[in-house]
Each structure stands twice: as structure tokens, then as C-alpha cells.
Symmetry: C2
Subunit: 504 residues, 2 copies
Amino acid sequence: MFLDAFDPELFRTTSETVTAKLEKHLADQSIRGLELVAPATLARAARALMTPERTSAPEFDEERLAAIIDLYIRTGIQVHSPGYMGRQFSGVVPLAGVIDFVSSVVNQPSSFYEAGQLPNVAERIMADELGRLIGWKPGGFAMVTTSGGSLANLTALLAARNERYPGYWSGGAAAVDSPGRPAIAVGADVHYSVARAAGVMGIGDAQLVRLPLDAAQRIDPARVRPALDAAREQGLHVFCLVASAGTTAVGAFDPIDELADIARERDLWLHVDGAHGASLLVSDRLRHKLRGVERADSLTWDAHKMMFVPAPCTLLFYREEARSLAPFRQQASYVFDEEPDVYTALDSGGRNFECTKRPMIMTLWALWALYGPALFATKIEHLCRLTREAHRIVEDEPDFVALHHPEANILCFRHRPGGAAGLDDAALHRLQIDIRNRVKERGHFFISKVDIDHVAALRVVLMNHQITTEHIRMLLDEIRAVARDALDGAAHDGTPLTDTGPRP
Amino acid sequence: MFLDAFDPELFRTTSETVTAKLEKHLADQSIRGLELVAPATLARAARALMTPERTSAPEFDEERLAAIIDLYIRTGIQVHSPGYMGRQFSGVVPLAGVIDFVSSVVNQPSSFYEAGQLPNVAERIMADELGRLIGWKPGGFAMVTTSGGSLANLTALLAARNERYPGYWSGGAAAVDSPGRPAIAVGADVHYSVARAAGVMGIGDAQLVRLPLDAAQRIDPARVRPALDAAREQGLHVFCLVASAGTTAVGAFDPIDELADIARERDLWLHVDGAHGASLLVSDRLRHKLRGVERADSLTWDAHKMMFVPAPCTLLFYREEARSLAPFRQQASYVFDEEPDVYTALDSGGRNFECTKRPMIMTLWALWALYGPALFATKIEHLCRLTREAHRIVEDEPDFVALHHPEANILCFRHRPGGAAGLDDAALHRLQIDIRNRVKERGHFFISKVDIDHVAALRVVLMNHQITTEHIRMLLDEIRAVARDALDGAAHDGTPLTDTGPRP
């Protein structure tokens, strides 16, 4: 009787149910953050929706499905609401969700051409389209898709490691003949996945050389050579330099062009983590933020951030095509043909981590095919402009301090209420964390926090074009209100501002 | 004008278009394999569907979308047709595709509880449900989801490495104090991702100790201790033993219980790669294939294979909960809270590779909630029974040779036509490859190939319950026909059987 579950008609009716619920969700422009539910409470609600039947599959229960979908939508982060300002994942272009729906049903794994022909061709087309924006000519470079920026960064660093130390793959770290301990130079604000990669790869995260930042939180190019020299004196052999195009913390763009000079001079692999910011390449007005990116050896670009497609959809570029084969080596007769042909030449299984890989490119390619680059450029420019306006608003308020000039769509600031002028750094830190948690609990806005110079700051990431300056002003008022509560609470009941643990 | 693309009404109409096309696709029970198109031809067709407009986003073009969807469905692997017998990816339960559609639109990254509350709770529920089938009590073990079996295997091996060599993460391979070169013991038929992991992690793939197989292609437990002794004599320090529960090649189940004895005796981390076969745990009749799995330290389980949900949906289990924290270490104030609370306790960001992670558990949990385990058990038992019947059919034909007794739903065999009785191994190898390619080109069936004892074999993986024994007989006839063509062609025009390259 399990065949009922495979009935195409049931597929249609459930698709209609879901479409109606999602349409309503997308149309809901109320200002809302998060409805945070205690895990134990939510687990009880979820368990109540599960059939008790175990020995034979029950009939399909339409109400149960509807309740599951409602609970799923309601308890998630509300990326489509103007109250959502918190993180780098995005409300998707709805049509990208529709394309991804096709991918979920036809289930074409895209590491192998024969399994997913159009996704593989679409990858080549998007490589050409985006490679041109990087500044590369078709034919000489390579692009693979992979499941997220963390994995792309690891893959690129493996390519760098294997190229510099050819014995590493087979012999392991112990077999490597190096003038010093292999090491990777990174900006002090590099994404944690890069530091992790050093730990994963056998380099060791103690072999990360953290390059100092300038006042704008970018790697300070004047201080790179001295830092590399000091590393060498400590017995480190730096083989790779990682720049960020849009740091996670504040969205700062490291000076790629100047770092490329240093990389060439010292024979380093230059990897650019553009997970967040590479999408600015789509805009003629903003492309200059990544000046020099065409000189990078590899580039990570998350389309699921500023290209507004469902996660994951990460693109990893190599300036030289042959290097895309450097991260891995393998033999497996069940998937790899011994004699490559015109079809298997497009296989990416040898170049990416995944054996079964989602055809993630299809959402991006379909949007590009239907709307061209202008869809992305227009939205990105709008978001960056809005963030500059938000910065001006924050600057104009005496009880707020902006911590940087936003280069993209991330803005970090602190609330310094007049009555708390005397707060020391520790108290200021706790107040920001308390504000963040209280804003989250109120449920109107969702913002994040980040430590800057060891003191917490509030952080907004404007991914939603439906946010207006009016919403920004409302957020500041909300922050003022919760800060008053926090400070009053501290005064009233003696609860110290350090209380950032769970609340009833 | 980019706002048009975000119109909820457009979302509904495009969803309806796509639903109608997918319903038709699911209802099409014609016997078909692959419509293989030359990449250059397909690229031209795809480019023709792209708007030439670059400076401003054009109006939505419904016909263009319809053509894209049609091309996407038509050129993919036809996992929902009975002609599809080729690989381990699956036609999904259609409802799982519908749930995944919700995930694509609501876009809740599930590495962090606050971003995707229901997915995180659903992970805990499915951990309990499936952990019970493994033989573990709730509370003591851990499960994380991750993007594919290759990544899960790497994650588990990192945990093993970091536990055994505490200095590895920070100091790197060079800092490790080990009685020999760190090494991993694997079955000779282990999936390529495990061998890759050794290369990735700095262990080096030359430090893989390949354990000999018995006649049924399983690790031969009697020969493990001598192989480990020999490795030690060669200066290797084996810290981890990897068993396969369902090898990719033939679907063989290594004797986990006996390997667990050896692992305990020698203090090895026992990892079980059950990407394909762990799903048999859902069936009371088939669970015994994994006898001893409750003694494994870690287990990889791909729900996107035999649980029939969209890829990727991989589950990685640890027998001891604390060890799920062993693969990685990191600090990142923008995502990790300094003071964990009841919410962040559910965060998996510190335990899996991904920072942004698809809420992949939702498809599996929703099916489980609606249908219970019986849906999966019934289909899996059906497929394994069908594969045994296919084996009997092959055995009964004098011109076919089955190469093993199928333990799951994978069957490997060779065609040995009467007229080719005198084929040597090299010619037999080339004939199977030629058969595989010609079957693929005819477009009725899609099968795969694998090398067994250095000679190619034909391989069917029965993932589709709509396949009947009649389809198996039709496949054998098709194989006979293409083999005749291949052998005739060789006789007529002198083309040697070695011609397995591209054809016009």
C-alpha cells in the first residue's frame, strides 16, 4: 500500500496546499522577527503531529501536512519580513524557490554530466557570465559549484596546499619537504571556516598568521610584509594568503590588488573569500570594491547570499583551469570513466567534495536567463544604498555610535544611552548583548551581534529590499526601549548586566 | 522595477506551471533511460533561452520559463522511470519534493536553532527514532545532518583523528606524537570519499591500509589482524577502521560485529560508512545485515539514497554524544554565543562543516511524521526482494554470469554471449563497457558499470519500486542486442572492442 505516497495526483494536491501557504507567507509584509520557542515545547508540538502507526503506512492525512507546514513557516527566521535584518542568508527570489522545487523532484545529481545534463551546461554558462565580470576570458579558468562557502574555502586551500607541497596528498604532512612549517596568512577578521580549514587539512590552526587590520577593518597592506617576515623568522613557511571580499563581521573588503602584488612577490596562492561580497561584481557601480580580484588564484562566491537563491549555491573559481583538479585525487570505477569523452569532460566529481551534488546552479541560471544580470545589480545597489542611509541615521542619533563606514550591506553600531555614559567596556559589551537578546525576544526585529575590538556591537545585514529607512528608525526606537528595560531591570532587582543566560 | 520578480502572485502562477509539468513527469511510466545530448548542442539550446537584456530586468516571460523547465526535466536522468536502474540516487517520494519546496522558499539555515527551529527539533526527533533502530538509547548519542556522505565520512574521520592525536588540530601533523605514521584501515572496496579523506586530512592516502575481501566482497575478518600487524611492522599506526554497510560496487555488508571486536581489542575508532545500506535498519527483516552497528563509534547514513528524499540529506551518528564536538574547533562571535543557553544547545554549527546548512532533515521527518517507518521498510524490502529475483533471472540465463549474491538492491553481472566464449579478460572487459555505453545511447535503460577483479561488470541498482521482473528480462534482451551490434561491428569494420571513446 506504500504506492499511495507516490501518486502523482497526491503530488499535485499537496503542491497546491503548499503553494497557497507560501504565497500567503510571501505576501505578509508585517514587521516581525523571530517567534522563539523553547526546544522542549516545540518538540512536543512536533511529536504531536507524528502518526503513531508503525507497522503499516497510514492513509495520507491532509490536516497533518497542513499543520506541519504551518509550524515550519511560523517558527523559522522570517527572511521575507522587513523585520529581518539579522544575517547574511536571504529571502529568495520566489521564482528561484520554484526552480529549486523542480530540482527536488527530478533529483539530478550534478557531479556527473550524464546524470544532470542541463545543470552541467548551466554551470559552464554561468562560469562564462560571471568569469567575465571577474575579468577572465572564457576558456582559461574554471568554476565548480559546491555546498556552501566553508566547503569552497577548504577546497581552494587544498588546491593551494597540494600545489605547493606535491607530496602532501599521498605522503601526508610528515612527508612534506618544506623550508618551514606550512602556514596560511589571513586577515584577523577572516571567516571561521578558513581557520577551520587549517585544522582540517593537517596544517594546524596554530600555523595561521593573522594579519593586522586598518581602521576600516581591512587587512592593512603596509603591515603584511613585516608580518610575513616575522612568521618566517618563527619557522613558518606561508604558502597561501586569504583575503576577504566582504568580511562577515562588518562587510569590509580587503585590498585585493595590493595583496596580489605581495602574493606575486612572495609566490603565495591568493585566495579571496568573497562568499558575501563577490556578488558586488555584478554591479558596474560597486565592482571596484573587488579591484584586483582577477589576479586571485581562487575565489569563493556564495550565490545564496547576495544573489538571493536558496542555500546552498556556492561557486568556486580558479584563475587557471588546471588547478581545479588540484584539491583531490581519486579512483573509483563506478563513477569515473577510464577514458574521458566529450560528456565526461564536464564531470565535476573529481573537482568537488560531493559525489551526489544538488544541481544548485539551476536557480541562479534560471533567474539569469529570465531577468539577466540587472535583477541582481539593481537589488544589490539598492541594499548598499539603504545601508549607507542607515549609517547616516545612526550617526545622526547622539545615543548611537556607528563603528565603520559600510562598504556593502552590513552595518555595526552600538547603543550608548545618555544615562549609561559611564559604562565601561565590559558593561557596554553586556548591554549590547542584552539588547540583542531582548530585541529578539520581543519578536519585531531580528538583528545579530559581533565583537569588535573585544566589545560586542549590534549588527544589521540588509538583505531584504522591503526594508525602508522608516524601519531603521523603528529599530532604533526598539533598541532604546529594550535598553531602558535592561538598565532599569539592573537597577531595580540588582540583576547585573552580565545576565545573558536563558530567561524564563 | 526588479520588484516584479518578488510578486507573490507571480510565485503562485509559476508554481502552478511547474506543478503541472512535474505531475505529468511523475505520471509518465514509459521505459526510458537517458537522452544524451552533446554538451555543445545543449549549451546552444540553453543560451537560446536566455534574455539578451542586460541593463534592466525584462518583464517575466512565461514561455521562456516553460521551455527551461521542459528542457531541464527532459535532459536529466529519469529516476522516476522503470528504465532507470543505474545508480544509487533515487526517485524521491513526491511529497518529500513538496516539503523541500517549502525549505527552498522559507530558507531557514539549520546550523543554528534560532534560524530554523523546527528543523533543529526535527533533527533531535529523527535522531531518537533512528538511534533506537541502531540500538542506542536516547540521550547518550548524537546525530548531525550534513551535505552528503563524502562530507559525513570526512567529518567522522576528523573526529577520530582529533581524538587520537589531540595536538593535530592546532599543531598540525608535524606536531603529532605517534608511535608510527597515522593510518586508516579500510576495506578494499571502500568508497572513494574515505580514501580522499586521508588525503584531505594530512594523513596521506599512502597511509591507507587496504584490508582484503572474502569471496562475497566483504572485509574478511580472518585477515584483518595479520594486515594490521603487517602495517605496524611497516611503521604505520592505525587509529581508525572503516567498515562499509553496503559497498558502492556490489552492496556488500562488511561484518561489523567481528570488526568491532578487533577495533575494541586494538583501540581503533570504528566508523561505518552506511551511506547506502544503513537504511536497511528500518526493516525488521533486513536489520541483521548491520549486526554489531550499535558498537560503531560513528555511522554515515544517506537518507537521499534508500530513504528516498531529495539530495542531500545525510545523517552522521556518534555513539558517544561528546565526540560529535571532536571534528572541529572554532571561535566566531557573529554566530557562536559565548554563553550557551537552552536554545544554542541545539546549534549544530560547531559540529558540521556548513555554516549555512539546508534544513535537509525536514523532508525525512515530514515523511516519517505522515507515514511512519513502514513506508520506508516496505519499499526497501520490496527492492531487495526484486533484486534477488533479478539475480535468479540472470543466473538462469546461460549467456549471463552473476558476480555475487545480492545482499541489498545492487546486482553486478556480465554478459558472455555464446559466440564470444573465447573472449579473454581484456576483451570481456571492453565488451561490458561497450554494452553499457550502447545501452545508454539507445535510451531505453540506464545502467552503470563497475570493475570487479579488474574486469568491468554491468551493474544495476534497483531504487525504483515500479521496476518489475519483466523490465529485468527486457534489459537482458537489450543487452544481448547491443552486444551483437558491438561484436558484429568489430567483425565488419575491424573496429577493435577497445573503442570505448566518444562516438558521433
